[in-house]
Subunit: 433 residues, 2 copies
């Protein structure tokens, strides 16, 4: 059997990616339970491993007009809390995983540990945690800080945070603690439930953990960063890495660095999911029409606002240098790995969710392209967003899932393990056994 | 039409009240979504306004044996997070409200405000917040504090906390902010979405609030305390007060003080729900058998452990004085308002969830008794716990709901408003219109 492909559905609880709420075909009702339950059912039927809920705790601002563009264009704003949505989705699915973004900078570790344990129990082990350290000044200002904690310190703090929550998840309740012995009246054996007595530089947490061990004991650790500090953190802790943006060459480089760093840390490398823009149709031209339609409702200014620049304030010919001076330059390099991009190329790239990878065509063409991308970059799977592409998951389930299954690249849902960790590492487990 | 009765279902996400998990008739599967969904359906069918999820963030300890009794007897431990359960219950009910306990001492206000707004949207306005300031040293130790913040300071901090979250809920988005104008591309009008720029003694939060206004804008504020500081806080902020324990005389006193304090604060008095022990059957003897059966699986030592005393360490005849010396004395006074209780009376009282009020008998007898209690104490409704009384909500729906509806004391679910605030204040609204 060929190496299976993995898929994760990337989303945020927003009205739609940037201008997508303007699309007349958009049926996204982002504050309705039934909308999300229907999405979860489709995504499960399409054979995805998980829904991945990204999140930020601030608003994207520009130097020139503050939060104006974000508010006007619904650019990652408003944005709801993914933690409290998951149980309703778990109730209408059987095997789909749910990855929730939460910050080591702003959530108290004791509460976060209990929240994830509760969800891991309620979902029968289908929960993952996208670990972020939060990077927006506008988020810091919501938590009593004048500006964000320094990048390096955020990761030092995050290391201690992980230490605390892992103590709660893994070391507070021994395997033999739970007795549930109605006759003797012992629910749990006090000799096997321990305080963690953590006392460190940033946190002091006594414990014990509030909950008995959950199916996975801890959520599957996801991480999404490309900085050197971030990669080193991922190598130490992550089980899966989500990466958005970057050419094949850049992806190979990231994966290689992750592999080396993981080896040094004595761990097996995290699985890598990369963002890809998919459009599929019965014919190539139908697919291309869908691809071109995508993101057409996103304004140029909101597409670029995440760089911190309000492009309305700059003549077109000075924009690239403004972005290089005031914006983040990393994404400029991401367009095919080149630095000499034109502003139009950069706008196009920003509009399509900032991934230069795409797979557009008939079902067979898309699957071929996915295999090619996977093999060239050394990926494990793909992160696919339907924000700005209404109907994409429905298309996936209708056109791609049958082909993927026929070719042995995707297991039937009934044959998938329930626990997210087992599912994501299923090929390794198969190799071991 | 007579003044309607209100009912709230009191629970915690635990294996069962103290020893209740030992009861062979207990079907409580406290970490299963389907168990809670079934409970929510029964509670809605019984005509209750809300499910009330109590919570603590530590473990009850005794001076003599620490957490041993809590761990062994599953005494309010383990205990899961109610926030992440609610959406699954909202998905299978239409009108039932959900009150989640959250602490002003440990949850960051910006995150909490977004969490409740998300839930208020997802539930169509059925969410309430039981505001607690958290009082356990064992909780403080989980958040980096050596002991709890001083009682008075906790409430000063809580006042500022309420100020912050109310600014986010009520003043950050104007009523006219939301435009959703696809043609012009204006989702929200930037002129009507404001940072809150809060900068106080305890909190500094810039905003804006992450979410557009939810159906209720803010959760219904519940509070549960009997201390003078707590009552004064409730009079300033609460819309409903939950009180457990206390004789009729004590309840009348609490309600009178609340009324006076509310008047002074220029607010209408919060609705008061009191805990009552219910047992109902086709015949009086069937009901009495159920009442006697309740809590029989709770050990004496765990029933009293919440006082901070391990009674195994004291000869029976010194126990009362040990409780008076080392334990909290308030509950001693609660048994009928007397101080001269025997230790057996106190144990019995502690075993039955510490409420001296009960209504036991045939359906008509129970309803008569509830009206009597309501009128004597000046209550608005009752808080009813089925923990330790398996099948109580089913009994309620079968025996009491039809009688209550026949007598005009309970509206049909279809006639109830959806929003929790409208529902709890329905009689006022009816009076006004």
């Amino acid at each position: 059997m060929p190496k299976p492909l993995h898929f994760s559905a990337f989303t945020m609880i927003t009205p739609g990616a940037d201008g997508a709420w303007r699309d007349p075909e958009n049926t996204r009702d982002y504050l309705s339970l039934s909308y999300w339950q229907q999405q979860a059912r489709v995504i499960e039927a399409a054979g995805f491993d998980a829904m991945f809920f990204a999140d930020i705790l601030g608003v994207f601002e520009t130097r020139e007009s503050g939060i104006e563009l974000s508010v006007r264009d619904a650019h990652v704003f408003p944005l709801a809390d993914p933690f409290v949505l998951v149980s309703a989705l778990a109730a209408v699915t059987e095997k789909l995983g749910f990855v929730v973004t939460a910050s080591t900078t702003y959530e108290p570790p004791f509460l976060l540990a209990r929240r994830f344990s509760t969800l891991d129990h309620l979902t029968d082990g289908r929960i993952g945690w996208n670990i972020v350290t939060s990077y927006l000044d506008s988020a810091a200002a919501n938590f009593g800080l004048r500006e964000q904690v320094d990048h390096t310190e955020r990761y030092v703090r995050a290391d201690e945070y992980i230490d605390v929550v892992e103590k709660l998840w893994l070391r507070s309740w021994d395997d033999e603690a739970l007795r549930k012995d109605a006759t003797s009246g012992v629910y749990a054996d006090p000799a096997h439930v321990h305080p963690i007595d953590h006392s460190g530089k940033y946190f002091s947490v006594r414990g014990p953990h509030s909950l008995e061990p959950s199916p996975q004991r801890k959520p599957v650790f996801f991480q999404a960063t490309a900085s050197a500090t971030g990669l080193s953190f991922a190598a130490r802790h992550a089980e899966a890495v989500y990466t958005q943006g970057g050419s094949i060459t850049q992806l190979r480089d990231v994966i290689e660095r992750l592999r080396t760093a993981s080896e040094e840390a004595g761990r097996s490398a995290p699985k890598v999911f990369a963002g890809v823009n998919i459009a599929v149709g019965r014919t190539g031209s139908e697919a291309r029409a869908k691809a071109e339609r995508a993101h057409q409702f996103k304004s140029e200014e909101s597409a670029l606002a995440w760089n911190g620049i309000d492009i309305r304030q700059y003549p077109r010919d000075t924009l690239l240098s403004a972005l290089q001076t005031f914006g983040t330059t990393r994404p400029l390099r991401s367009v095919d790995g080149r630095l000499d991009v034109t502003i139009q190329e950069y706008i196009d790239y920003s509009r399509t969710r900032r991934s230069p990878l795409s797979a557009v065509g008939t079902p067979d063409e898309v699957v071929d392209r996915l295999i090619e991308l996977r093999d060239e970059a050394g990926l494990d799977g793909f992160s696919i967003s339907a924000d700005g592409r209404p109907g994409l998951y429905e298309d996936f389930a209708e056109y791609l899932t049958p082909v993927l299954r026929e070719r042995g690249l995707l297991a039937e849902t009934a044959d998938q393990p329930t626990r997210l960790r087992d599912r994501i590492r299923a090929d390794e487990i198969a190799l071991q056994s």
